[in-house]
Subunit: 240 residues, 2 copies
DNA sequence: CGCGTGATTGAGGTCGGTCAAACACTGTGG
DNA sequence: CCACAGTGTTTGACCGACCTCAATCACGCG
């Protein structure tokens, strides 16, 4: 079935932090509330780390000694059942945070899909920062809350949508995150998409060809997809 | 298919708040961090409201002008697709919070399953409280984070588990919340359970009879269920 | 008692999974 | 430049878990 193998957990190289001015700021959306002209206390204490394609960042069950924020690239978060079935909890892009579960162990695994740069903030330093800067907690609350909203949408998708509806919803969600432009990057494999939508690789592939022959999407080079009729896709996705 | 009808949105009666000493305190778990001997700033400004069985508390799309905390009873949160398909996001019990999505509109509906008592905290007052009492944000962050953890478990369930595995996981999760004692209350209907697990009423019913004939559970009076072999259920649930 | 609602059971259909083969792409070595 | 292997995607044929439709059952209530 799935292999789900990833290479060693050590980052390719660790850049010395802090380097507050060098790193790109997350976009200004409700879910990523650190605006460019806003002080970013996390950046000051974060280490920058670079991970290769398919490299593990942390694994479910490991001691959760740090939180991460994605600067560049794409990360998958997933949970496994003992027999190997995998559910991808989410795909993270620039600005997203990982590991904000205040448990002593990570409750899911994280792997880089593309070569990725992340900020790493040790848990102890985050706690200290939360003490010295109370407004940070409200920001993190806001971030976590919008993650929760996304999770609830995903529950509706997983529990109640058909294969084609799931695929349309997925493409639209990616498109909304990417912002303007009808072409979106799909660096993840069909298997990743399947494990995110509760389907199989084959069903995802059939869905893509159906959307292609219906002239709703077009496959571009480099694994990019152009949404030819976002309205029809939204109709298919049954709103959301 | 489903009816999903609920009666008027007005609470049966509104009790004058605050009445800090009269209301039961949530239990001491990581997800409900307001311990009994701990100051509870929310209780001080909350209005107590009582809702009848099957009564709506708020609906998806309404202006989100308040957050709620359940004092007693059971609440269902759900999202609907335009054609009426329903996904129950969660069942809330004493101590759980609702409406903590910092959007201007509720993103799901809430209805009382049993007669329920909830604390109602207007959004504006909550904001003020967050300003005057920064530690509250960290508590809410902790609450929201554990809701997110539960949501991720539910994604794994919805995306990757079989009908029987879903049912076993559901019963175990309820049992863990209820704490000691192998009997758990199931005030919600088979249809509610189905809409929570991404199944149909019939499949849930068949699952219950299969668990009964396998001597893993026993149905007691009053819609209560006794877990006869939690170990075997956990095995079935494929961990989690 | 008769009715209404929800739960259970049964029979049959279907969407998506499983298994398998063909295809496409990429890099590697001759 | 091609041959080839290796990996991931697509397509096909078949199957089964779950859904659909429908009848029966159980329980509470006027």
């Amino acid at each position: 079935m799935h292999a789900h193998t990833a290479i060693a957990a050590q980052p390719t190289r660790v850049l010395p932090g802090p380097q507050a001015t060098a790193m790109p700021m997350p976009r200004m959306t409700p879910s990523r509330p650190f605006a460019a002209n806003d002080a970013d206390p996390l950046a000051a204490i974060a280490q920058l780390r670079v991970f290769d394609r398919e490299q593990a960042i942390f694994a479910e069950g490991e001691t959760a000694d740090a939180v991460f924020r994605v600067v560049d690239g794409m990360i998958r978060l997933y949970k496994l059942l003992p027999d190997g079935r995998r559910q991808i909890i989410g795909f993270l892009q620039a600005g997203d945070m990982v590991g904000l579960a205040f448990a002593d162990r990570y409750l899911y695994s994280a792997e880089a899909i593309t070569a990725s740069t992340v900020q790493r903030v040790p848990r102890s330093q985050l706690d200290a920062l939360l003490d010295s800067q109370p407004s940070l907690a409200r920001r993190l609350l806001s971030v976590t809350t919008s993650e929760l909203v996304a999770a609830q949408d995903q529950m509706l998708l997983l529990g109640r949508k058909s294969a084609l509806e799931k695929l349309a919803s997925f493409l639209l969600a990616l498109s909304r995150r990417a912002g303007a432009g009808r072409a979106i990057a799909l660096p993840m494999s069909r298997c990743d998409i399947a494990d995110h939508l509760g389907l199989t690789t084959e069903t995802v592939s059939r869905g893509f060809t159906k959307l292609k022959t219906s002239r709703l999407i077009r496959i571009l080079d480099g694994g990019r997809v152009e949404l030819l009729d976002a309205g029809a896709l939204a109709e298919l996705a049954d709103c959301t």
